[in-house]
């Protein structure tokens, strides 16, 4: 009795639903996990793995589909894009979804070594977090972006705090309050945008921005400014990064590793919104004044963040703090890349984004493994007993350190070379000096840490029991992330071809808008 | 008929609003908590009742649809008002706004309006 079954073209194949699946699947699995929570951890793990496995398949399929260059639109509820909510999968979002999924696999592996028993609702929250992340990457609607931000954030609160105590609570409180403040600002910006432009669909907004009058543009400019602050808070850019080191360094390793992708959401949002909505679509007219203003702020801010984060890394007194600052530095590098605004630089940024997600995740895991071998000293950079399994941990840490500091030959190096290579002539002096000097300081910090951690030792006190050897699963998880990085190095060529194409796609917002308008509902009337 | 109804409604409205106003006025004017408690809990309740009656008539008359649903509102108010009043007075007694008279074996409820210990929360 459903109204019109005789639709012209039915979305019968699963492939047609690809853009919604990365959001829907983890949600379903998360809900199922809630129902089976009392049936033991084994079942939960199975379901969780099933979820991540299917998600990986879907994400890979999505990437392949996006790589043909088509921007696939998915009209949720079959409403035209401007009325309802449209999901948009282009190269960039597909890439990020796949990155998230791959990272999630490793994190899940690590968690299955035991953390998932300690943290209540871990598996459900984990899946729901994936829902939020993928939703944020795939949505084509600004308000929907907000909603998925919130899904992602609230799940992250749970993951961060479940099973935690003391200082973690305080860090969590900061994290939560700051994010709520940012969300509030986000809403204010959305209200202004809707009030002035009368739509929330990104493509529609882009179109309307380009036709707006001067007085309206002042408001749009204000809204876009607020949005920038919001996204940069999430992405931890100067001066909004202060919350991150504490939050991340207090987080359980697996969560911190998963969070490696959270700062990237902010970066992605900047990239998406400021290329599309406030991008150069106007190409003349009054809206042209709006185009690109954000980059002028982002470049110096990114460079400054890079410097400060590196100083922070040098100043760190604990391993996890060090890694947290390195995460900021990598996000800052990303900002530098994308704020240069050229296709090559954005491509470098995308490559670096994926790289830094993996390597930051890996570092958090490795550092946790090390911490567990250091007895009471934990991750404080004090002298501890000789590290058992020195070689294995050293190899893991070394690989991650080389990668994160941009030393050759791993992915960090390739990313950095791409970035340096892409810097336009007028920005070379500053950008190069900052990027190169901070690389050096990162190397110094990491060498110091490695030397403190792996080389300096005092004998174990007789009374202390030796720590248990690291679990194989956990080592495997950390190694998996490093292998991703190595894969990115070896496959640098194909990946860069993809990111080049993705960057070109980002810089041609007209195609996106056309795709959004061209998408016709199946059985409903298209919008006039 | 219409005119009469109209007058009736207007009167109800006036009375209702009047009660509401008086109830709140009592809130301002009276000097201690238990006196104030009386005004709102019922003057207002009744006032609202009147207004609701007027509303029923009004909507019926204007053809917005006749319904006794407003009665429900009144009903609920009648159920809930005592509960809140009761609890509020309990609370007031609890923090000692007024000394409660001794529990009677033989009742000796000699009320003394005394200076209440105005402890702020």
């Amino acid at each position: 009795m459903i109204a019109a079954v005789e639709a012209p073209v039915a979305l019968t194949s699963l492939g047609a639903h690809l853009p919604v699946l990365p959001i829907l699947l983890p949600l379903l699995f998360g809900a199922v996990l809630l129902l089976v929570e009392r049936r033991g951890i084994a079942l939960q793990r199975t379901i969780s793995w099933l979820g991540v496995a299917t998600l990986t398949a879907v994400a890979a399929a999505l990437l392949l589909a996006a790589d043909t260059g088509t921007i696939s639109l998915y009209l949720v509820g079959d409403w035209p894009a401007r009325l309802g909510i449209a999901l948009v999968a282009d190269r960039t979002s597909a890439l990020l979804v796949l990155t998230t999924t791959l990272l999630a696999g490793a994190c899940l592996l690590y968690a299955c070594a035991g953390w998932d028993r300690r943290a209540i609702h871990f598996h459900a929250l984990f899946q729901l977090q994936l829902t939020g992340l993928n939703g944020a990457f795939l949505t084509g609607d600004l308000f929907n972006l907000f909603v998925f931000f919130e899904v992602m954030l609230i799940a992250s609160y749970g993951l961060l705090l479940s099973g935690g105590r003391g200082p973690r609570m305080r860090a969590g409180l900061h994290y939560v309050v700051l994010n709520i403040t940012a969300s509030t600002l986000f809403l204010i910006a959305l209200g202004l945008l809707y009030g002035v432009l009368g739509s929330l669909n990104m493509a529609e907004l882009a179109l309307r921005t380009s036709q707006a009058g001067a007085a309206d543009l002042a408001l749009v400019r204000a809204a876009s400014g607020i949005l920038l602050v919001v996204f940069c808070t999430k992405a931890a850019l100067v001066p909004l990064y202060l919350w991150l080191p504490n939050a991340y360094s207090r987080a359980p390793a697996v969560v911190a590793a998963l969070f490696a992708v959270m700062t990237k959401v902010g970066v992605y949002a900047v990239l998406r919104v400021y290329t599309l909505v406030f991008g150069d679509l106007a190409a003349g007219g009054e809206a042209a004044a709006l185009a690109g203003w954000a980059w002028e702020w982002l470049l110096p801010a990114g460079l400054l963040t890079l410097v400060l984060a590196t100083l922070g890394a040098l100043a760190s007194k604990s391993l996890r703090m060090l890694v947290a600052f390195l995460v900021i530095a990598s996000a800052a590098t990303l900002f530098v890349a994308i704020s240069l605004g050229t296709a090559a630089a954005i491509s470098a940024g995308l490559y670096y984004l994926v790289h830094s997600t993996f390597v930051a995740g890996a570092l958090f895991l490795v550092v946790d493994l090390i911490r567990r071998q250091r007895g009471a000293v934990g991750d404080n950079l004090d002298v501890a007993g000789p590290l058992r399994h020195n070689a294995l941990l050293g190899l893991l840490f070394g690989t991650a350190a080389i990668s994160v500091s941009g030393m050759p030959p791993l992915s960090g190096f390739l990313g950095k070379v791409m970035l340096l290579d892409a810097v336009p002539a007028d920005a070379v002096a500053w950008t190069w000096s900052v990027v190169l000097v901070t690389s050096l300081l990162t190397v110094v910090a990491l060498a110091r840490t490695a030397s403190q951690t792996f080389w300096r030792a005092q004998p174990w006190p007789q009374t202390t029991p030796l720590p248990a050897p690291p679990s194989r699963i956990q080592v495997a998880a950390a190694a998996l992330l490093l292998v991703y990085g190595i894969g990115m190095t070896v496959l640098g060529g194909p990946i860069m071809r993809y990111t080049d194409a993705a960057a070109a796609q980002l810089l041609a917002p007209a195609d996106y808008v056309r795709a959004a308008h061209g998408a016709t509902p199946q059985l409903r009337e298209p919008s006039p | 008929m219409n005119a009469a109804l109209e007058y009736l409604l207007a009167a109800l409205l006036l009375i209702g609003s009047g009660f509401v106003l008086v109830g709140s006025l009592g809130l301002i004017k009276l000097s201690d908590f238990f006196k104030r408690l009386h005004g709102p809990t019922k003057a207002t309740t009744l006032g609202v009742g009147c207004i609701l009656l007027a509303s029923i008539g009004h909507h019926a008359w204007l053809g917005d649809g006749f319904g006794l649903r407003e009665i429900l509102v009144t009903l609920f108010l009648f159920i809930t008002a005592p509960v809140s009043a009761h609890l509020m007075s309990l609370a007031a007694l609890r923090i000692g706004l007024e000394r409660r008279p001794p529990r009677p074996g033989a009742r000796s409820g000699d009320p003394r309006p005394e200076n209440p210990d105005r402890r702020r929360g």
């Binding site: 609570m169 305080r170 409180l173 403040t181 204010i188 209200g191 809707y194 007194k317 | -």
Partner: protein
């Protein structure tokens, strides 16, 4: 009317921001609550202020903005209210835990500072 609402939004924002900057978790939560009021009103006002034209369709009335107010901001505010509530709940609980674990309800309590 617009002025009244705008001034209210401004005032709520100011009050919220001020409380947000206090050092105690409960004050901060109050500040967030006020801020969320301000936000909700602001989003709401993006559909403009219309008295007495709720977006519930009646027969025989043309479905235009002349007869009904803009429903979309209302839907957005609804979503925003719900989300704000969820966030408030979580924040409150974290504040409770933080106070219990760290022995003080100062927002920075229990940390040995950075880094």
């Amino acid at each position: 009317m617009e002025f009244a609402l705008a001034s209210l939004i401004g005032l709520l924002t100011a009050a919220g921001v001020y409380l947000l900057l206090r050092a105690r978790s409960f004050d901060v939560i109050l500040g967030l609550t006020l801020l969320s009021y301000a936000t909700n009103l602001l989003i709401f006002s993006s559909g403009r202020l219309v008295i007495g034209k709720p977006p519930v369709l009646e027969d025989g009335v043309a479905t235009t903005l002349a007869h009904y107010t803009d429903p979309l901001p209302q839907a957005l505010v609804l979503t925003a209210i719900v989300i704000a509530f969820a966030m408030t709940a979580v924040t409150i609980v974290i504040a409770m835990r933080s106070r219990s674990d760290n022995g003080s309800d100062h927002v920075d309590a229990g940390g040995e500072g950075m880094p």
